[in-house]
């Protein structure tokens, strides 16, 4: 047992971090959040790097690496608030052709979720619909979608399918559907770890700089302890997500269902609480659009809303008890 990143895993995460540093600087994100055209090369670069093929098998043209690697990438993407259906693409690439060469941009939807909402509707052309019976492909051109504004997260525009998702073409069975959704839940949880981490870093940096009563606000014990709790939540969430990822890769170490549900619970909770704490620590500035604190909370809300309900995840973990 060695529950530490390998050198290769570390290099992969560093590579994505470098890419995000280049393409997702704060100015680009603010412009995107304002709805202004901004042209991050992110998607093209990810395609070029082969990142969308992390979990897709080599037969499909993927890298055939593991969920551990995908989770590390998702974490970094979360930390940089990377926009677009990247996580869905990574998962879909395992079941759908055309993702890896960038010719289609897919999104995952859960047929049982109500109302039927599609994230990133403007750039998505193919849907992978998950339901109890299997996995289905639907072209967005076959769906009656209506954009809804404002989206809660300005970096995650949404549309509603008033009459739900068409049946579509069957591309997998019920087990495939569960596996796809589980993978997506894992990557969303990993992305939540990135949010929790970034919110903590932002809070610490601000609190060291901001002076009140002749001292940095980060010297007040109430804020220090709030940030200590942020660090605790982040590290717990990270451990939980990495363990879930490894459990998908190494099924003999435990129940993937339990591990992913637990990771979803702990990580999304960490993202929500930490992004709220980051706003609180920023004080009034945290409540402004110009500071990016709100974007972390809004992304955390998106992750919470798209990962099934926390109660359902708690139910899953509880079902393994005893």
């Amino acid at each position: 047992m060695d529950f530490e990143l390998t050198d290769e895993q570390r290099a992969l995460a560093d590579g994505i971090r470098a890419l995000c540093n280049d393409t997702l600087d704060p100015a680009t994100l603010v412009a995107l959040a304002d709805g202004k055209p901004a042209a991050p090369r992110l998607w093209d670069d990810l395609v070029a790097m082969g990142v969308l093929g992390l979990v897709a098998s080599e037969e499909r043209g993927g890298l055939g690496l593991g969920w551990s690697e995908a989770a590390l990438v998702a974490e970094v993407l979360g930390e940089y608030l990377a926009p677009g259906p990247i996580l869905d693409a990574i998962v879909s690439a395992a079941v759908l052709d055309g993702v890896l060469d960038g010719s289609i941009r897919p999104a995952l939807v859960d047929r049982s979720a109500a109302p039927a909402v599609l994230c990133h509707s403007r750039v998505v052309d193919q849907l992978v619909v998950v339901d109890q019976d299997g996995l289905w492909q639907v072209a967005t051109s076959d769906v009656s979608l209506e954009e809804v504004e404002p989206a809660t997260d300005p970096l995650t525009p949404v549309a509603v399918a008033a009459s739900g998702w068409p049946q579509g073409t069957r591309i997998g069975d019920a087990a495939d559907a569960r596996a796809v959704w589980r993978g997506a839940d894992l990557l969303r949880a990993a992305s939540a770890v990135g949010i929790a981490e970034a919110a903590t870093k932002r809070a610490v940096a601000f609190s060291l700089e901001r002076q009140q009563f002749g001292r940095p606000v980060g010297s007040f014990q109430a804020l220090k302890h709030m940030m200590a709790d942020m660090a605790v939540r982040t590290e717990l969430a990270r451990a939980s997500v990495y363990a879930a990822a490894v459990t998908l890769d190494q099924p003999e170490v435990g129940s993937a269902e339990r591990a992913v549900a637990g990771a979803r619970l702990v990580a999304v909770e960490a993202a929500l609480r930490n992004s709220e704490a980051n706003i609180q620590i920023h004080g009034g500035m945290g409540y402004t659009w110009e500071v990016d604190a709100h974007l972390f909370l809004k992304r955390a809300l998106v992750l919470d809303a798209t990962s099934g309900s926390a109660s359902d995840a708690a139910e899953v973990v509880a079902s393994h008890l005893g």
């Binding site: 109302p115 404002p150 809660t152 949404v158 009563f213 809300l301 919470d304 809303a305 926390a310």
Partner: protein, 400 residues
């Protein structure tokens, strides 16, 4: 202890209710929140109606034209107007609840005569120029500078979190007149005309995208010395004087709104499909709402106790800090529950599939400001700990 309303209090409520029933349908639709001229027109029209009906300045003494209502009547007034969905005090907030009371306590007869009747009738609108980018919780460290030049103060500096700046006629402005004095001692309170040359207003967008606050820049703005309220360098005391005016009614409208929203979230739960039934079938949801309602009821009871105690002592208590700490976090938990219930519908700040998701998600984001604005929860807890419990104050930092 008596929670029954007296016949005169019941009469006051009945009269108010009758008047609200009559007048509210006459109002036009609420203006767009970002259309400030329309908001000013709407809110001052409402103020004029209140004035004509004898409800303006409900908490102002009669000698200044106010109603001079008892605290219980004020409670009833706030409860009824909020429940009826009457307009908020809106752009009249600073004039009625802060600048006005300050003028009553500290201004010259001329200054009072010039402003108080106009505030009461909705003829003039005020804003507040206290906070600065580097002076938030530590307000007394403000740096906006005023130097005396003949019979004018010349003001340069930068204020922030100023509501209504775009449509205000006047600003209650705190400036530093003695930079060498200890920080609380070199501050002066000025009545600043907002049309003076050298004032620039830049709206600040909030996380919900609204323009509720502005930054106000002062570049060599000339303000007559006659506009000074109180003595030079005594402005900190002048600014603090209004805290004595607040006697426990500050959060009544917010509590009424919170109470209503608990009901709305319960209603949402009853309509949200979940399996074969609705979210309301989940005991966890019901119990969470039951707890929130129990705490809300306690907050409402605490408000009544605060009022009764203030009525007797004539002084404000620390009840406000207690209410604010509890209520702001209660409201956040409520909104958190609301969005969790909504699930995918919380992805937009708009109503989806017949659900009130727009309002709930908007409140979810807006609730973040509750523990920040008007004294952060950290500051409020310091106040409770130091003033109510007698725990030691924070000490200055040593540079060791």
């Amino acid at each position: 202890m008596d929670l029954r309303f007296s016949p005169s209090e019941q009469q006051f409520r009945a009269d108010l209710r009758r008047w609200l029933d009559e007048v509210l349908p006459q109002l036009g639709p609420q203006p767009d929140p970002d259309d400030w001229p329309a908001r000013r027109a709407f809110d001052t029209d409402w103020q004029r109606r209140l004035y004509e009906a004898g409800y303006a300045g409900i908490n102002w003494p009669t000698e200044y034209g106010g109603r001079g209502a008892t605290l219980t009547e004020q409670l009833i007034y706030l409860e009824e107007t909020t429940r009826a969905g009457a307009p908020y005090v809106g752009v009249n907030f600073v004039g009625l609840l802060h600048a006005g009371p300050t003028l009553m306590a500290e201004a010259t007869p001329d200054q009072r005569a010039a402003h108080l009747p106009r505030i009461l009738r909705g003829d003039e609108v005020w804003c507040q120029g206290f906070s600065e980018p580097a002076a938030g919780s530590d307000l007394a460290s403000l740096a906006c500078r005023a130097r005396l030049d003949g019979d004018h103060y010349v003001v340069s500096g930068h204020k922030i979190w100023t509501s209504f700046a775009q449509v205000a006629d006047w600003c209650e402005l705190l400036v530093r007149t003695d930079p060498d004095a200890p920080k609380h001692r070199g501050i002066t309170w000025l009545i600043c005309p907002m049309d003076a040359p050298g004032i620039e207003i830049r709206p600040l967008r909030t996380i919900v995208g609204s323009s509720e606050f502005s930054e106000v820049y002062f570049d060599e703005v000339r303000i007559p010395v006659a506009n000074r309220v109180g003595a030079e360098n005594d402005g900190w005391r002048v600014a603090m004087v209004t805290f004595g005016f607040e006697r426990g009614t500050g959060f009544v409208s917010d509590l009424v709104e919170t109470d209503r929203m608990i009901g709305e979230v319960a209603d949402l739960a009853r309509h949200l499909p979940r399996g074969d039934g609705t979210a309301w079938d989940d005991p966890a949801v019901r119990h969470e709402l039951g707890r929130l309602q129990a705490e809300m009821d306690a907050l409402w009871a605490m408000t009544k106790r605060n009022l009764a105690q203030s009525e007797r002592s004539g002084a404000p208590g620390l009840g406000g800090s207690l209410v604010k700490v509890a209520y702001s976090e209660l409201f956040q938990r409520l909104c958190d529950l609301g969005t969790r219930l909504l699930g995918p519908a919380s992805l937009a700040r708009a109503d989806l599939a017949g659900l009130p998701s727009g309002a709930v998600t908007e409140e979810r984001l807006r609730s973040l400001s509750f523990t920040i604005a008007a004294g952060t929860s950290q500051i409020q807890r310091n106040i409770v700990a130091e003033r109510l419990l007698g725990l030691p104050k924070e000490r200055p930092w040593t540079s060791s």
